[in-house]
Symmetry: C2
Subunit: 211 residues, 2 copies
């Protein structure tokens, strides 16, 4: 990222927490936790119970709570349901490869952390730099190729883009799941980039110890 | 579109309907209507009641019915809820501008039809060709600019990209809704392009008469 244009430092919201207000983690208003509907507060409680904190994506998106909950019910099922057609590691690899291609600070930080938790402390950074240099199985490599093609130039795709996945034994359902994950991060990356979402700092330290 | 590369004609699924099977509308398997769960069949029934046909996106996506329903509950609320922060016309305009930029045959056909129904028979084609030539209000123009920026280069966006929307009176909630719509079509365009989704032919004739 060093040689790529950075967001203007001055425009970056402060991450300082004051006693009276939530930290500012977006270029649009972030609702106070006390403002959001009960259903969203319950979800925030579940996040805290499970991980110790509320992801900023949830705080930010909760400005429109009904939209947020409907999106979350789909997103969470897509990424976390077990068994999926793809492993959790494969889904998080796609998240990282797509988020790197779209230069999404938020999703790269958060999904690198999730991927470290199901793989190793190094893999996400290699994937983000250039996934072709990572030690991947043929199936993982084909999934990354497919996700990148969808991200950069989906209009030129043909049935041949599916052939490699099929030849490695992926079912049509698995291909549809992979396509949804790649498409999902093209959605979240754009929301995060357009609205200046800042990731929770804690993501950068999660999963740094070898499994 | 005439000078841009087309999908290989030979790889295009046939749209012929046989008595025994559903038409093939994707490069992955499309489930028979009799195969999909009750909940999805009920939704198909509602589509037929309202418009006379089942959109191919629903047939195709129903290969993974639980994923499809979760996505649809979000998508439908985002695009159709009334009152939205944006008008239905504004939401459909964003859909068309983003789908044109991503060269998505499916979404351009379907959302041009939806936009014709809430505007006029000509607007979608002008938007798809070059929205800067369409007769737009300053607010509509700013929404199209914002959606295109999100589509083409979201990583370079700064708070200044939100200023034009704010100066025209859009609230933070309206900006978040616009961003979700632009992001959503970056999701659906990629699914449709990567999986070879073919739009229902009827879209091309819908809403051709002046209101």
């Amino acid at each position: 990222m060093a040689n790529l244009p950075r967001k203007n430092k001055k425009s970056r919201p402060s991450s300082k927490v004051s006693a009276k207000s939530e930290p500012t983690t977006a270029w649009v208003r972030v609702p106070l936790e006390s403002e959001v509907p009960q259903e969203v507060q319950v979800l925030f409680g579940k996040f805290r119970e499970k991980t110790g904190f509320v992801p900023n994506v949830a705080r930010n998106f909760a400005l429109m709570p009904e939209h947020f909950m409907r999106w979350f019910r789909y997103y969470d099922f897509l990424m976390r349901s077990e068994p999926g057609q793809l492993s959790r590691k494969e889904r998080e690899m796609i998240a990282v490869v797509v988020s790197a291609a779209n230069q999404c600070e938020y999703c790269l930080a958060s999904h690198s952390a999730y991927l470290r938790e199901v793989s190793d402390p190094v893999l996400p950074e290699v994937l983000a730099a250039n996934y072709r240099r990572a030690h991947l199985s043929p199936r993982e490599r084909a999934l990354c190729d497919f996700a990148l093609e969808m991200t950069l130039d989906s209009a030129r795709m043909t049935p041949s883009n599916l052939q490699m996945l099929r030849s490695l034994g992926l079912s049509d359902e698995a291909i549809l799941e992979a396509a949804q994950v790649a498409a999902m991060f093209n959605f979240t990356n754009r929301l995060a980039n357009a609205l200046g979402w800042v990731p929770n700092e804690i993501y950068y330290s999660q999963g740094r110890e070898p499994l």
